[in-house]
């Protein structure tokens, strides 16, 4: 930022990022551990072995800690919609209303209702009904994720709606187009499978700690095997739908893909930069090299983006300035049509106020012709259409490198478990403990790619973040930023403390 004063938009962005990242510390463990507990309890019912019941109740306690501390942290994000992002909130109200209502009424009520039975119903309800309740908690938690991700998917790929210029809002035209958008579906599968992976790392890591301390070894070994299988399978789903994600992004958010790869000049047989040091001075359109150092795999990016190793992948420069030879209309041109759309919208508003029907009709026709580029009409320079490249590039690599490491860890755990020598592999057990933290790092890195990579857009191509925000004093947002920082840090420290205490106590005797 140098000596620029941070604006309201910067603080609002920072606040949303802070609260979303904190929220995302609690959520993936809930999503994944709920299923692991359901598996543990299913094994208990199948075998009748009371050790499995002890094991289940132990992990359920940790699940409960995470759930209790994390519950309602997502509502903070909704508070911010109405205060810091009022334009955005108004414009998407008709789109987000249905998914978020379904989330609250349907998914959360299932979760909350059966949560009570799961926690307080041991020995009070039948074993079968208790197990059913545990599975319903897992289902309810993951169904909640569907609707939030449908909303986020719509931001990345707005579909199934029409803009009403009289009400200044997007109105849903087709619920199923929104709910089953390929971006929403892929987001859900990738997010939930990565959450399963995180939960597996958590169980494997805590269990490894027990083995290192030579405590509760039977429980730890059993937990590790089940979690490692779960995590190993989840890793494949993460990789598979991660690949789908890249394919989707190439089609629907090519600028995000270009930023993820630090690709400025589009090319055929585009290589993938496996590792690289981004040139921080590089800007769209200049002649500076994109990287100081890079290690590339030839044609790999073309293969991943288009499933054709010879295909053309557009770079940031193509998308900013256009490429006539490749039929790419750049941001520079789209800004011209976007400004026509903005101007036409203003003329329409004025004509309606003056009750001038012919002028309103003409303005509306002109707006409708160019409304697809509306968002570009708010940009000052074409280069603003590009997101922060370095952050997107490095976050993507952190996520992928860690995502490649985790299945190896699960595989090693299963190998040594099968050999019966897991307790002797202290190096592996220590790596498992460390991987709890690394799992969270990968989770956050993934969301940074998704949300930083879509900048400057609040709604892809239609509404930049700067226009989405409320015109309030930056100081107002600063105060709440630091309140949230304090509150969430306190919650996180409380969770870690309570978790460590429960882990120290171990399963009930």
């Amino acid at each position: 930022m140098g000596d620029q004063i941070l604006t309201t938009v910067d603080w609002a962005r920072a606040q949303f990022a802070l609260t979303a990242m904190y929220h995302w510390i609690f959520v993936p463990l809930t999503l994944g551990l709920s299923f692991l507990i359901a598996f543990f309890e299913s094994i208990y019912l199948k075998t009748g072995d009371e050790e499995w019941k002890k094991l289940t109740k132990f992990w359920m306690t940790l699940f409960g800690v995470n759930f209790a501390v994390g519950v309602a942290t997502g509502i903070i994000l909704e508070f911010q919609f109405g205060t810091n992002w009022s334009n955005y909130s108004w414009m998407v109200g008709d789109i987000f209303g249905a998914p978020l209502a379904i989330e609250g009424i349907f998914a959360f009520f299932i979760e909350a209702t059966f949560f009570s039975v799961m926690f307080f119903g041991w020995n009070k309800v039948s074993k079968g009904f208790h197990l059913f309740s545990t599975w319903m908690v897992a289902l309810g938690a993951n169904l909640s994720a569907v609707w939030i991700l449908v909303a986020n998917g719509w931001m990345q790929f707005p579909t199934g709606m029409a803009f009403n210029p009289d009400k200044a809002r997007f109105e849903m035209q087709n619920f199923w187009e929104v709910a089953l958008s390929p971006v929403a579906v892929q987001k859900f599968t990738h997010t939930t499978s990565s959450a399963f992976l995180l939960a597996a790392l958590f169980v494997v890591g805590v269990s490894a700690l027990f083995l290192l301390q030579k405590r509760h070894q039977l429980m730890a070994r059993r937990s590790m095997v089940v979690a490692a299988v779960f995590g190993f399978i989840a890793s494949f789903f993460v990789a598979f739908n991660g690949d789908e994600s890249a394919f989707n992004v190439a089609r629907r958010q090519p600028m995000k893909l270009a930023a993820m790869e630090g690709l400025y000049q589009g090319q055929e047989k585009a290589p993938m930069v496996v590792l690289g040091v981004i040139n921080a001075d590089k800007k769209p359109g200049d002649n500076l090299p994109a990287f100081h150092q890079e290690v590339k795999i030839p044609s790999m990016l073309s293969l991943l983006a288009n499933r054709d190793p010879d295909s053309f992948v557009p770079g940031i420069n193509d998308l900013v300035y256009g490429n006539a030879a490749r039929n790419i209309v750049g941001a520079e041109q789209r800004m011209i049509t976007g400004k026509i759309a903005v101007s036409a919208l203003a003329s329409y508003k004025l004509a309606k106020e003056k009750v001038d029907a012919p002028a309103a009709a003409a303005a509306l026709a002109l707006f409708n012709k160019h409304k697809g580029d509306l968002g570009y009409g708010y940009l000052i320079t074409p280069a603003q259409a590009a997101p922060p490249v370095a952050l997107t590039f490095y976050s993507f690599r952190v996520m992928v490198v860690l995502g490649t490491l985790f299945p190896l860890i699960f595989l090693l755990v299963l190998f040594f478990s099968f050999k019966g020598t897991l307790e002797k592999q202290r190096w592996l057990l220590q790596a498992c403990v460390a991987s709890i933290f690394l799992g969270y790092v990968a989770q956050q890195a993934g969301w940074v790619v998704a949300e930083v990579g879509r900048q400057p857009w609040a709604i892809q191509g239609l509404l930049p973040v700067g226009v989405a925000s409320t015109n309030i004093a930056a100081s107002q947002v600063q105060v709440t930023f630091f309140i949230f920082l304090t509150l969430f840090t306190a919650l996180l420290l409380a969770e870690i403390r309570i978790m460590m205490k429960q882990i120290k106590i171990g399963p009930e005797v």
């Binding site: 409960g64 501390v69 309602a72 109405g82 200044a168 919208l345 000052i380 709440t480 309140i483 309570i498």
Partner: protein, 56 residues
């Protein structure tokens, strides 16, 4: 179960801070607070949408 009591306390304190303090004093709904009708709110948003872009 001691941990249960601790967790309920955390939930209660958290929800109180969120709804009785943050929502009430720091997070008013801007459009509902400053405009009376849907027409006025739409008009305000349209004003923002039709303003010339400001410096980055």
């Amino acid at each position: 179960m001691v941990v249960g009591r601790t967790l309920w306390k955390i939930i209660a304190i958290k929800l109180f801070i969120m709804f009785a303090i943050l929502k009430l004093f720091f997070f008013p709904n801007f459009l509902e607070k400053n405009f009376n009708t849907e027409h006025e709110r739409a008009g305000h948003v349209l004003d923002n949408l039709t303003k010339a872009p400001s410096a980055p």
